[in-house]
Structures are given as C-alpha cells and as structure tokens.
C-alpha cells in the first residue's frame, strides 16, 4: 500500500507542469516530413535545428529541446500530434505548420490550451481576421499577401488576360482571392484542381487552347514541381509567361532545374535576399545540410529566434503568459528579412519582392528584381478584435 502511494506520488510529480523559471523548454514542431510536400517541410525542420544549434541548445538561456511531428499534410494526423504535444510532451510552444488545412484543424485546441503557437508558414485568412488570438503569432505571411503582391506587380506591369489556377483547398482559395484583390486586369479563367493532383496534362491542354497572355498559379511543393515541369514539357514555358507563388521556389528548384528558369515568383524572402542576417543564415544552412533553404526554412529559423527573444525578455518565467505574449509582440529579434514589426493580429508587417528564377552557376536562384510592397500589412487585420490575455 505504502509503495503504491509513493509510486502514485512520483507519477504525479512527473506529470506536474513547468514551474516558475522553467529549467527546460520544450518546443513542439509540426510540419510535413514525408511525401511530396516534404521538400518544404525538410528545410523547416533543418532550420529550426540550425537555429537551436546557433543558440547553443538554449532558448532564452534555458536548455531547450525541439520535438518534431510529421503531419503528412493531413489535418487529422496534425490533430493527433498536437494532442501528444500538449498532453504527453507538455510543450511550452508549438511552431512549424506548413499547411493551412493542418493549421485550421489544430488552431482551436492549441488556443484553448493557452499554448503559444507560432506559424512559420501557413496563414489562413480566418486566423488573421475574426478568429485572431493573442496566443497565435506568425513569422511568415498571411496566405493572401504573396498573391496580392503578385497581383499588384502584374497590374503595374499592365499584364492582362491571365489564366489563374490553384488547388481546391483553404490556401488555394486564399491565394486566388488575394490575387484578385490587387489585380486590375482581366482574368480569363479561374481553375481549381484536386488537392494533391500530380498530372496536369488535361489542364495544360486547356491553357494552350485558351492561349492567355500570362498564367498565374499557386501549386506548393510536389504539385508545383509536377505542374511547372509538365508546363515546360508541353512547350508552353517560352510561349506564355508563368507567374507563381510558393511554387517555383528553392524547395522545388532541385527537381525543376531548367523548367523553372525565367519564371517569376513573389514573396517575403529568397535565399538571394541581401541582408547580413539572411546571408549568414543561408551560408550556415548550406554548410550544415548541403542544400539551399526556401522561405519555409527562413520563417522557421525566425520562429525559434522569436521564441528566444521573448523567453529572454521574461527571464524564463513562462507562467506569465501576458508578459510573454507582450514580449513576442515586440518582435525584438534579428529576422532574416531585416527588422520586422507585428500588426494587431500578430502577423508581420514586412516587404514583398518580385523574384526572377535565373541560372546561377550550376544551380538556379530566385534573384530579387523589384520591391513590390514596403512594410505591407495584410488585408484581414481590420477584422481582428484581439481579445485580452486572461
């Protein structure tokens, strides 16, 4: 009887939560690490590891550990990982999150548990607007923003008669909505394809027949690799200019090679962005992993440093959520994009660039051509009535 009492007490002590002035910080990192979308998830994981390495294994001076979960791009798998993070690992922060479908599925349980969640990629409009929460931060972009930038650029460049395509899911709809917000020219067709589709020959035949002036697409990861490759295979690459977002980027270039050359893309960062912090990050990343990170990686790298800055500011007192959130909202960390600040909805106010994919020695790179937006704020912040932290 006594032995079992002691065992029960010991078990209780084991599951007790983090105490004031945490002696160990755990970060739960969920992203897609298998299948076609792993080309985006892998640099996210590697960048988080690199960031923790550079911090000497400590977050805000406290020894830290990152636990990873592979959501396989499936919302239900993401939910299971989050449950494990919250109940078994008892993580202090959750970050990563590649897919908007996953973020929307895990958002409510995480917010209800009052755990701080930092999206290093996905930014669905609901979370930027009416569903905003003090516990949520983004080090990436609101989904629409890259598309808004591309729409703005194409309007400025007086391009009209555009054929727009995206996969049929949350982020796909956001991207096309974002594109239409700033694009003033004529959209000749708006096509949604099945999420995860890999053979685009039928759709490409339709494009050829429609013969638009330009094509705008959002096909992240594996879908984009197949689309851009097949677009080039069909001989359309040099006939109808392709403009894309989160499609032909550093994650896809190793598979695309010459099929991507000459394409335009828009975004908040590329490995060729010229800031001292970015150059240092890309150099360290290439040295450690032997490949070039894409923006998914850069935003994950920033997420770890954002957490670090906030933990430092509250001197490791993770129990004071109010102070912790206030510290994070200051964005007092060295971002790879230069200085950032946070909008009311906890999405960054940042620049957006037009990149052209050019041959660079043996490989291909996203060269910044033009700054489309300076200190740009997303379109949904006005709908966010940020609740107070209890």
């Amino acid at each position: 009887m006594r032995a079992s009492l002691i065992a029960a007490a010991a078990a209780l002590a084991l599951v007790a939560g983090p105490v004031l002035g945490a002696d160990k910080i755990k970060i739960g990192f969920v992203t897609t690490l298998s299948g076609p979308e792993a080309v985006m998830g892998n640099p996210m994981r590697d960048s988080a590891d690199l960031a923790l390495d550079m911090l000497g294994g400590k977050i805000g001076g406290v020894p830290a550990e990152i636990v990873y979960g592979d959501d396989q791009q499936k919302p239900d798998v993401g939910r299971q990982i989050i449950e494990k993070f919250l109940e078994k690992d008892r993580v202090d922060f959750i970050t990563g999150i590649l897919g908007s479908n996953v973020l929307l599925a895990i958002y409510q349980p995480v917010i209800k548990s009052k755990t701080i969640i930092i999206s290093a990629n996905s930014g669905p409009h609901q979370i930027a607007g009416e569903m905003c929460s003090p516990y949520f931060f983004s080090t990436a972009t609101q989904n629409d923003e890259g598309a808004e930038a591309m729409g703005q650029y194409m309007t400025d460049a007086k391009i009209t008669d555009v054929y727009a395509m995206a996969p049929n899911y949350a982020a796909g709809k956001d991207m096309i909505a974002g594109f239409k917000r700033n694009f003033k020219g004529n959209i000749s067709a708006e096509v949604y394809t099945t999420f995860g589709q890999h053979d685009y020959q039928a759709e490409i035949s339709q494009i050829r027949a429609a013969n638009p002036k330009a094509v705008f697409v959002f096909y992240p990861g594996g879908m984009g690799i197949q689309f851009v490759k097949q677009y080039a295979e069909a001989g359309l690459k040099d006939k109808i200019q392709l403009y894309s977002i989160y499609t032909a980027d550093e994650a896809a270039i190793p598979a695309l090679q010459d099929a991507a050359a000459g394409n335009y893309t828009a975004g908040n960062w590329s490995a060729d962005l010229d800031t001292p912090r970015s150059r240092a990050y890309v150099a360290a990343f290439r040295k450690k992993y032997g490949y070039t990170p894409a923006n998914y990686g850069a935003d994950s790298f920033d997420a770890i440093f954002l957490i670090d800055s906030a933990v430092k500011a509250v001197k490791g007192d993770l129990a004071d959520k109010k102070a912790l959130i206030a510290a994070m909202a200051k964005a007092d960390f060295p971002s790879v994009r230069g200085d950032l600040s946070y909008n009311v909805n906890h999405f960054p106010i940042e620049n957006f660039y037009l990149f052209k994919i050019v041959k660079d020695g043996e490989s291909y790179a996203l060269k910044p051509e033009h700054t489309i937006f300076t200190n740009y704020k997303d379109s949904y912040a006005k709908d966010c009535k940020m609740p107070a932290v209890e």
Partner: protein, 307 residues
C-alpha cells in the same frame, strides 16, 4: 472549344488509359487465372517507379533504369507468389484481401526505409523531352506520346502471347479449368508463377512510366490500384480485352470530365456554382459510369468465359 482541343484531350485520355491498362492487365490476369485478389499489385507499380527513378538518376541511363525496374519487379513477383500467395489460393477472397493489404503496408514502409520518406522526382529522359508536331501546329509532349506507343505495343504483344503461343494456350487452359489442365500434365504451379511474374513486370512498366508524371512516393500505387480495380470491374473480371477497352474508357472519361465538365455546367448554372460543382463531379464521373455499367451489365463489358 476547338476540335483540336478535343483531339488533344482525347489523346491525354488515351495516354492515361494506357497506363491504367498496363496496371489492370496484370491484375485481371491474376484474378482470372488464379482467382486471387491482389491488392499488392500497386506496390509492384510503386517499386518499379522507385527502382527506375533511382537507377536512372544514379547511372544516367534510362535503359539500365528500365531493366533494373523490370528485373526487380519479376524477382519480387516470384518471391511474393511463392512465399505468400501459394498459401492463399485456396482461401476466401477476404483472407486474400487482408493478406495482400498487409503486404502493401509492408511495401509502403519498406520504400521509406530504402529511399527515405521524401518523394523522388523522376526526370524525363532527354531524348523524350520536348514536343512532337502530330498535325501542323498541334504539338504534343513526346514523353506522353511514347507512353501511348509503348502501351499499345505491349497490349498487342500480350494479346499475341495469349491467343497465339503455347504458353498463352496453357494460360487460357488454366483459366478455364485448373483441375483438368493439371490432370492433363500442365505444371500449374509453374504456370501461376509465370503469370504472376508477367503481371508484376507490367505493373512495374506502368509505374516506371508514371514516375515522371506522378510523383514517386510511398503509397503512390494505392490510388492507381483503385482505378485499376474500377477498370477490371467495368471490363469484366479476368478479361484482357475488357481491361483494354475499359481502361481507355476510364482514361478518356476522366480526362474529358476534368477538361470540359466545368464549362458545360457553366452553360446551365451560375459560373461560381459550376466552379465548385465541375471539379467535384469530374472526380466522381468514372465511379458513376462504373455504377451505370454494373447496373446494366453486372458481369462487366467483356466477361471472361464462365468456368
């Protein structure tokens, strides 16, 4: 829509159908002759794609890649047949489904162990990239055309093999009455292994050609396996001719649905509704066709002769 576009989409459909046919041919042979439901057929397709993509990337020779993939699939086919399937021939279909489903799980995780969990991106061989002018001003990707040519050639060889050769005669004999064929001195065990290896090689051929079009990833065989089952159900279980007709039917209907259904719907309903209903209906189309065909002809279009 121009007639050239319809023609191009027709070709796209035929190309997709041909790939389905190579998958379905092996599946329907194994079912027709051995009365075995083989869910692991998709795994051989996947392994074929992986072996070809990785060997091609490593050696730079597509011929070596194809040879390695076919060889690997035949070895796997023979191994799986002798070790696993021989125990299943006399069991119920449910047991066969369970055991072969287990095999797909083993293979799906096996490729992750060997090739990692990140998907591979197979390259199109240089001599097949680019386009061919089929008609003046009508360009078509060379690789897609090559798939059609290879598929038709294999289909012709297969029908010759079954209709005109001694092995084909034995296969037909084994299919119509296993016991009598064995009593007449046909080595049924060997014949089964042979048919199985042939089916595996066809699946690997389909997989290695699919590599550059679909992504080479764990589980890639599962989605096409479902379509291959639709094909053999429509075509009539055990019938190669049925599988051929049904795969072209499924390929063309699926492609046409994806290409034209939305604009057809837009003629009768609001464009925003058509935007949503079009793709949704297009992805259901072949299953609707299957339901209608099964309703009218429960035995499929070309049922194999009754045993």
């Amino acid at each position: 829509m121009s007639s050239l576009l319809v023609l191009e989409q027709l070709l796209n459909g035929v190309q997709f159908g041909i790939m389905l046919f190579l998958m379905a041919a092996g599946l329907t042979l194994v079912f027709g002759i051995m009365n075995l439901i083989n869910l692991a057929h998709g795994s051989v397709y996947m392994v074929g794609a992986y072996v070809c993509a990785s060997t091609f990337a490593a050696t730079g020779s597509v011929v070596v890649g194809i040879a390695a993939a076919i060889a690997a699939s035949i070895v796997i086919g023979i191994l799986v047949e002798t070790v696993v399937f021989r125990a299943l021939y006399h069991r119920e279909h449910l047991d066969q489904v369970l055991a072969t489903f287990g095999l797909t799980l083993v293979f799906n995780d096996g490729v992750r162990v060997v090739w990692g969990s990140t998907a591979l991106y197979a390259a199109v061989p240089a001599f097949l990239s680019g386009q061919v002018a089929i008609l003046p001003g009508f360009l078509y990707p060379t690789y897609r055309l090559a798939i059609i040519v290879v598929g038709l050639a294999v289909g012709a060889l297969l029908s010759l093999l079954i209709a005109r050769t001694r092995v084909g005669m034995l296969i037909r004999a084994g299919a119509s009455n296993r016991v009598i064929a064995a009593a007449l001195g046909v080595n049924i065990t060997l014949l089964y292994t042979l048919v199985f290896a042939l089916g595996a090689a066809l699946a690997a051929l389909s997989g290695l050609m699919a590599g550059p079009i679909f992504t080479v990833e764990s589980g890639m065989g599962d989605s096409i396996l479902i379509l291959a089952f639709v094909v053999i159900v429509i075509g009539g279980l055990g019938s190669i001719r049925g599988a051929f007709v049904a795969s072209l039917l499924v390929g063309v209907i699926d492609t046409m649905g994806r290409a034209f259904l939305r604009s057809l719907l837009a003629l009768v309903m609001a464009p925003t509704v058509a935007d949503n209903a079009g793709p949704a209906l297009a992805s259901m189309l072949i299953y609707l066709v299957m339901a209608v065909i099964l309703f009218l002809r429960p035995q499929g279009l070309f049922p194999a002769r009754v045993r």
